[in-house]
Symmetry: C2
Subunit: 140 residues, 2 copies
């Protein structure tokens, strides 16, 4: 990863959301940008606090909500769990969840997307979004 000590990416994210730049939000934004998994609010908060111990739960939730509303992060609710977040400016993908380890792998299938569009079209709808999650176990 080798992140610079200070990255302005987080600031850009916040500005794009029309939010004022504060230390707390900078920490949260950086956590989201650097996350390679799909952290939940609690994890985002814990990681943000490593950078700035003053980040409160309320601010974490409020910032996540604001970014989410502006479409700058995506939210997921895998299985029947808590909300999980990921940065939004990434190519679309679906998720494959290893039920044993909890590991989440991302994938895309142009064919599947294509077929979804056809299904929706046949029923007279246009797709706004979709969610495909495959729950798996390592085979063999």
């Amino acid at each position: 990863m080798n992140k610079p000590f200070y990255s302005s990416e987080g600031d850009d994210l916040l500005r794009e959301a029309g939010l004022r730049i504060t230390r707390q939000r900078q920490a949260i934004a950086r956590v989201l940008i650097e996350a390679e998994d799909h952290p939940d609010a609690e994890q985002v908060l814990a990681r943000a606090r490593e950078q700035d111990a003053s980040v409160s739960q309320a601010t974490a939730y409020r910032t996540l909500a604001a970014l989410s509303e502006k479409g700058l992060i995506r939210t997921h609710t895998f299985d029947r769990g808590v909300m999980r977040f990921e940065i939004g400016n990434r190519p679309h993908h679906d998720h494959l969840i290893d039920v044993d380890t909890g590991e989440i792998r991302e994938f895309v299938s142009a064919e599947i997307e294509q077929l979804q569009r056809r299904v929706a079209e046949e029923l007279g709808y246009e797709i706004l979004a979709h969610r495909l999650e495959i729950y798996c176990r390592k085979s063999g």
Copy 2:
């Protein structure tokens, strides 16, 4: 519809789950069997109470949890909402959600299922379950 005044299907469902037959559970089981939508816990409770006013929230949740654990009903959490339930002994299908009306339509696409299997296989997994939800708006 034209349901008989008393149907034993519900009892079968309960027996299959290894649960004792009680009036409350019979009401809940019947609600699930007769449901043509995807009711949430609150709706299941309300409908069950039409048959037996003594059904409590606790019993509704406990029965739903028990049936769910035994795989006799399926649970969904469309979008970021409450848990919704549907009877489990029905052919597999995915869901298309009309974001304007909240209407939920079911569909199956053998091709999509096929492609999912291929994706999982390529990553070295076998599919245990999957969930595909398409959020749509009526077109035209």
